[in-house]
């Protein structure tokens, strides 16, 4: 029973990936002009043009190109970038850590802050704390991310000069491991903080709603009646029951974070996958754009799948219902 449910989830994720792959292939081939018109100078001799086409595999029939492309994507060999003439994969792998650090640290920080505030709000229902948390969350999450970040950048990097204006490391980078790490943290502080500020509102609202419901359950009353301390009641009983949805939401928030990371990297000029995608898209560098998009889609799909699996593991009802559907 359980295996078939897992299989279905994996198959549907694979379908999404397949669609992404096909889209990626079609999109970059139906565009106006030629895929290599950006790198082929009209003044090239016909032989040189033919050699370039051969180099990029564009002289083969379209179906064969498709299979070669699928094979490349599955083995992460994305070919050469049009702009830098370097392998796309090397470029991507050098930028991946920065994006991952940005996404994971802001995700964890906003989740922790939001969950804590959400619990506070649920415990102080109808009081000032609750209203403050909910209002603050609603306001911060309804602003466009790049606007808040630009304002923060203007305030803290330009007016007060606390944080750097751009980049993920100083130029030239400082010597010594500790200095480099400190410099990196200093550069990442504002991006991560701004993403946290914008992300905690949704968490707070969600956790508060779950907690309010959980605190009204009989077993919480029972726990209180047994004379447990408030801390034990809240974190040992009520909070434990809302963990499964929280875990799922944590993973489900990744697609939004991907979009957020792209914008954030562009605002703060960080060296990440998002800026890579932007540079590739605006520079008509199709192999790089396709690869970056594929990678971001892969991250999203994987996290969605993980969310489903985690939810199924911690909450058996999902598996059974999923099977009966």
């Amino acid at each position: 029973m359980r295996r078939s449910w897992l299989l279905r989830r994996i198959v549907s994720s694979l379908i999404v990936l397949a669609v992404v792959l096909v889209l990626n292939f079609i999109l970059f081939r139906i565009m106006p002009g030629d895929a290599v018109s950006t790198i082929i100078d009209p003044n090239f001799s016909p032989e040189a043009k033919a050699r370039l086409r051969q180099l990029y595999g564009l002289d083969k029939p379209i179906l064969q190109q498709f299979f070669i492309y699928i094979k490349q994507m599955l083995t992460f060999r994305f070919g050469l970038s049009f702009l830098s003439r370097r392998p796309v994969w090397d470029e991507l792998i050098s930028r991946l850590p920065s994006t991952m650090v940005l996404m994971s640290s802001s995700m964890i920080l906003s989740a922790v802050l939001g969950i804590w505030l959400g619990i506070r709000a649920a415990l102080n229902r109808g009081k000032f704390t609750e209203r403050l948390v909910l209002r603050a969350g609603a306001v911060t999450s309804s602003f466009p991310s790049f606007f808040i970040q630009l304002v923060l950048l203007m305030l803290f990097a330009r007016t007060f000069k606390i944080f750097p204006l751009r980049g993920s490391l100083s130029v030239p980078p400082p010597s010594g491991v500790i200095e480099v790490v400190a410099d990196y943290v200093w550069h990442m502080a504002l991006p991560v903080l701004s993403l946290t500020v914008m992300g905690f509102g949704g968490w707070a609202l969600y956790v508060r709603n779950l907690m309010v419901r959980a605190l009204g359950e009989d077993y919480v009353l029972m726990a209180k009646a047994r004379g447990l301390s408030e801390h034990d009641v809240v974190y040992g009983h009520a909070f434990r029951t809302i963990l499964p949805p929280i875990l799922t939401i944590l993973l489900m928030s990744v697609p939004g974070l991907v979009s957020g990371a792209v914008i954030t990297e562009s605002v703060f000029s960080l060296h990440g996958v998002g800026t890579f995608l932007l540079e590739a898209v605006s520079g008509n560098d199709y192999p790089s754009a396709g690869a970056a998009f594929y990678l971001l889609a892969l991250i999203t799909v994987t996290c969605n799948l993980l969310a489903d699996i985690v939810y199924g593991v911690v909450d058996p009802r999902v598996r059974i219902e999923g099977h009966n559907e």
């Binding site: 309804s142 790049f146 630009l150 203007m154 697609p255 932007l278 605006s282 889609a297």
Partner: protein, 393 residues
């Protein structure tokens, strides 16, 4: 409905629409006109800086009092007529020193085009080549005059764009930010509303098809929805905008393709419940055609959902458009709030500390989004009164 029209967000929406429609007609010139020096401050901010001024200079010359800091630009252009054998001298008299701006001989008509940013000009009058030339021509407060010697007639224009300009200052090209802001309303509203309308129509169509026909159509539509929902939105929008071009209608199309899924889901679930209801059964028993049931009963039934969906979808579309434009993936000629933020970010608003380039478009985006969100919530509450009761639960 009466309450709806009295709501503040609705009034604000109507005002915004009217502004977007008519304000550009009332203003003279084009938003791309250059009205002052780059990065001029708003007129009410830092009054130590001079506002822009212009003098029409005739053969008698002109003289005026200057008490503020130097202007950003010093430029003089126009035409001077004189007898060919006389030497025409254009002299700039400051309280401290005289500058011979130009000395002309041998013609009847001279075209003057002097700009203090010009290196050759700076060299000819002997001021440092690096830095603001206008600052050297305005060393202190006092009386300044422009003297034209030996000219018969002159029609010159002395332009001194200051550090302050208009209500919201100017951007990096010297365009009026207020103008751009007002023009941006139109772009935001058109893109937001058009994209959402198309998306809602797509969603209605697919939702009806999935819910009413059922079977394989249903499965196909719902799997498509699932797939589209799990593709990361911004990256695919970026890729599409990069490939398909960046015009207004391309953006509308791209945005609508990726935002119909929510509507389709809610329409489908509504159709599923209504389909089994007794009155549809009795219509069927009376021999009503499928198309009749669809158009006369199911589509009107979805109207409230559609309205709320449209109102709640517009902020998303506006934000996506602003995001794309902010990343530079929009037509540079199309003035929009996102584009303004993009230009502020990439053309030196931060080194200038030009906050007036950031706040107006940003606040504009937020305000329009909040207006639509409030209207959408209200409509949603009307459809489902439980929502309003649930607010405090």
């Amino acid at each position: 409905m009466k309450n709806f029209l009295k709501r503040r967000s609705v009034i604000a929406f109507i005002i915004t629409c009217l502004l977007g429609m008519f304000a550009p007609m009332l203003m003279s010139g084009y938003p791309s006109d250059i009205v002052g020096a780059p990065f001029s401050r708003p007129i009410w901010w830092n009054t130590q800086l001079p506002a822009s001024c212009e003098f029409n200079v005739t053969a008698e010359g002109v003289s005026f009092e200057w008490t503020k800091l130097p202007p950003a630009i010093f430029s003089l252009n126009g035409q001077v007529r004189a007898e060919a054998k006389k030497e025409v001298n254009i002299i700039w008299q400051t309280p401290q020193k005289k500058y011979l701006l130009s000395s002309l001989k041998g013609q009847n008509v001279y075209w003057i085009n002097i700009d203090a940013r010009d290196m050759v000009f700076k060299q000819s009058i002997g001021v440092p080549l690096i830095g603001n030339g206008a600052a050297h021509l305005f060393p202190c407060a006092g009386k300044y005059s422009l003297i034209i010697q030996n000219a018969d007639t002159a029609s010159l224009k002395l332009m001194l764009p200051g550090g302050r300009q208009e209500l919201l200052g100017t951007d990096q090209r010297g365009r009026d930010v207020l103008w751009l802001l007002i023009y941006g309303i139109r772009t935001s509203l058109v893109i937001g509303i058009a994209a959402t309308l198309i998306a809602c129509l797509l969603g209605l169509g697919f939702g009806l098809a999935a819910g009413y026909i059922g079977g394989i159509t249903d499965a196909l539509v719902m799997r498509t929805v699932d797939v589209l929902l799990s593709i990361p939105t911004l990256p695919i929008l970026m890729v599409l905008a990069g490939i398909w071009g960046k015009g207004l209608w391309q953006l509308v199309l791209i945005l609508s393709i990726f935002s119909w899924m929510g509507t389709a889901r809610s329409v489908r679930s509504m159709v599923l419940t209504v389909r089994e209801s007794p009155w549809i059964e009795s219509l069927k028993a009376l021999g009503a055609k499928r198309s009749y049931i669809l158009w006369r009963h199911l589509v009107p039934e979805t109207a409230p959902i559609m309205l709320a969906n449209i109102a709640l979808g517009v902020p998303g579309a506006i934000l996506s458009e602003a995001g794309l434009a902010f990343l530079g993936l929009s037509d540079p000629r199309l003035i929009s709030w996102g584009r303004m933020l993009h230009e502020a970010h990439s053309f030196g608003a931060f080194t200038e500390g030009a906050w007036w380039l950031l706040l107006p478009p940003g606040i504009g985006i937020v305000a329009v989004c909040l207006i639509f969100m409030d209207m959408g919530r209200y409509l949603e509450e009307q459809i489902d009164p439980r929502l309003s009761g649930d607010k405090n639960a």
